[in-house]
């Protein structure tokens, strides 16, 4: 099974099929396709993104810190990164269970469950946002039963976390699934027959094998969660220092004509994105090294 969001190891091409190691190829079109790729990438992604850095480079360090690292901005980063982290942890646990169930068990409706996992990729985030609000608000479908128990989901960081769980789930499932599929059940059966307990098998055999994929999925879900906007604003509450997410703060600063602050916050978030991508690549490099070694 393949998913567009499953991260293939960078440099994979050079390692699959021994023949590919040849650097001389008779295949044409390198110039054309490479040129097209670089040109399109530059026009749509790199040049526009560079505006953020150039604009904030023109600000001067003190101004940048005042805007990008103001107490309110730092509080927003804490909310964004904190809720994304918690959501990714929850997704890592339940996503792993889901992937395990999908790979290892047969049960009626499995096809539907499998298709459903991708729903967050397909459902527009704003639709998810108003739907989740309708469900978890104090008078909503589920909220009305939670409120008497003193549990408020909507309009606080829990609501943000719920939205981010929705957004991030497929990243974990689709990252872990292929690895679980490649893992044969025989090792587990052997361990079981040697008297190992199920939790020992999980922690000693399964987890080490799927850890890189799980971490990759975690990092992807986390990165997506940090930047998420559409599904969160409806359910967040948007209180500064409490439930204001960093992307909302960018929008708020824009609406106050404070382009410098918006850009500074955007820069901090972009750097975080780069770092996250780098981390994913490192995880994969590490895992490939481990597999080879």
């Amino acid at each position: 099974m393949s998913s567009p969001l499953q991260m293939p190891a960078p440099g994979l091409a050079a390692e699959t099929r021994g023949g590919s190691r040849r650097s001389q190829s008779i295949i044409p079109g390198f110039g054309l396709t490479m040129g097209l790729t670089i040109a399109w990438l530059s026009l749509i992604v790199l040049i526009p993104l560079s505006t953020v850095f150039i604009k904030s480079a023109g600000m001067g360090w003190a101004e940048f810190v005042a805007a990008g690292l103001s107490p309110r901005a730092i509080a927003a980063y804490k909310v964004s990164f904190g809720t994304a982290f918690v959501a990714a942890i929850i997704n890592a646990i339940f996503g792993l269970v889901t992937a395990w169930v999908l790979v290892r068990y047969q049960f009626p409706g499995k096809r539907i469950v499998n298709a459903l996992v991708d729903l967050p990729f397909a459902l527009p985030t704003a639709v998810a946002g108003i739907a989740l609000t309708a469900i978890y608000a104090g008078n909503g479908w589920v909220g009305q039963y939670l409120e008497p128990l003193g549990i408020a989901v909507a309009y606080n960081p829990i609501g943000i976390t719920v939205a981010l769980i929705f957004i991030g789930l497929p990243f974990i499932v689709r990252s872990v699934e292929p690895v679980l599929e490649d893992m044969s059940a025989e090792v587990e059966e052997a361990a079981l027959s040697l008297g190992a307990r199920p939790w020992q098998i999980f922690f000693r055999i399964i987890l080490p094998a799927i850890l890189p994929a799980l971490l990759t999925g975690f990092a992807l879900a986390f990165a997506r969660g940090v930047g998420e906007y559409g599904s969160v604003i409806f359910i967040a509450g948007n209180m500064p220092f409490e439930s204001e997410i960093a992307p909302l703060l960018i929008v708020t600063q824009l609406e106050q004509y404070n382009y410098a602050a918006a850009t500074a916050i955007a820069t901090v978030m972009l750097v975080a994105s780069f770092a996250m991508l780098l981390l994913i690549n490192l995880i994969q490099a590490w895992s490939r090294k481990r597999m080879d070694g």
């Binding site: 309009y155 209180m239 204001e244 824009l254």
Partner: protein, 335 residues
């Protein structure tokens, strides 16, 4: 890319009837959140009048959103012919940051360029279970107050200033006013970015005991969203809200519809439009409409931004800019 973009831009921006601008004119009105129903009613009436007078069809396009977002869009190039926003400061910013209109814009039309006024009132749940009668009741423990974010919503800035003006009058010092507003915002559970978001939170999600709202929004919620579900409470002091309108000369002249834009705004001052304004729960300014709708609007003791706060520029700088009083209050209470 640019070539493709140009082609698209020209087919999206309207003059595609082939007959040229004389036959059909277009007008873009960029407005704030709660005016949707008002302009939905005014626009066809104006179009009919314009057609009768000049023989020209006019298509009026609306854009609605929080006042800050809307002004920001205009500054970034949203090609509005007229803006009808929640407060003068946002139009001042457009004047300062673009060459679309001159700084003296507010003197060009009557009544500070505000063809209608409004004020801030309380919307409470039916029967007023928390017994909210005046501003002091809002800072009692256990009372949840819904207001949008003053940083992004024009209505919320009026809310804030009305609360401040009350506390200043009652307790007599800036320190006491700050203390009052700090306590007020400690009772706010959700800060939506626009007035409409707050009304939805209060009405539809059932959150909060009292909504600080535009008078027109409060009436609309009471009459159209839930008959018998809400009461309006008029506080002892509130603020005279003057939502101004302006032609963006630069844009309108470039589009060749300056006269149309000017006629559109002047139409807002005619008896016909003033009547629609009253019907939509805005306070009309013409004496006839004022008399006709007088029974609809409760008498409120109103202060003005100019008298109380020295105008919008000063108020914005002191209260709402980054590092202003609002930020200080939040930095203190929430951290």
């Amino acid at each position: 890319m640019v070539v493709a973009a140009t082609g698209l831009a020209s087919c999206s921006s309207g003059s595609d009837d082939g007959g040229g601008a004389v036959q059909k004119a277009e007008l873009l009105n960029v407005s704030y959140d709660p005016t949707r129903e008002l302009y939905a009613e005014i626009n066809p009436k104006f179009a009919a009048k314009w057609k009768a007078e000049t023989g020209q069809d006019v298509k009026i396009t609306m854009s609605h959103g929080g006042a800050g977002k809307q002004a920001r869009a205009v500054i970034d190039g949203l090609d509005a012919d007229v803006v009808t926003l929640a407060l003068a400061y946002d139009i001042d910013e457009i004047a300062a940051r673009t060459d679309a209109l001159s700084p003296g814009w507010q003197k060009r039309l009557a009544n500070n360029s505000s063809p209608y006024t409004s004020t801030i009132v309380f919307l409470v749940r039916a029967g007023n279970p928390k017994g909210i009668k005046d501003w002091d009741d809002l800072i009692k423990p256990g009372v949840k107050v819904i207001t949008p974010n003053p940083k992004t919503s024009g209505g919320a800035r009026w809310n804030f200033l009305a609360a401040w003006a009350y506390a200043l009058k009652k307790y007599g010092s800036d320190a006491a006013a700050r203390d009052y507003v700090t306590k007020l915002f400690a009772n706010v559970p959700v800060l939506d970015s626009g007035a409409r978001g707050s009304t939805t939170t209060f009405v539809e999600r059932g959150i909060g005991d009292v909504l600080l709202a535009w008078e027109n929004e409060a009436f609309l919620a009471q009459k159209e969203l839930g008959k018998g579900k809400f009461d309006i409470v008029v506080p002892s002091i509130s603020i005279l809200a003057e939502p101004p309108v302006a032609v963006l000369d630069g844009n309108a002249k470039r589009h060749g519809n300056f006269q149309l834009a000017e006629a559109y705004l002047k139409y807002l001052y005619t008896p016909e439009a003033q009547d629609i304004i009253g019907k939509n729960y805005y306070r009309p300014i013409s004496p006839e409409a004022e008399a006709k709708y007088a029974s609809q609007f409760p008498k409120v003791n109103l202060v003005t931004v100019d008298d109380e706060f020295g105008g919008w520029q000063a108020a914005q700088k002191r209260f709402f800019n980054d590092g202003g009083v609002f930020d200080e209050i939040f930095a203190k209470t929430k951290r």
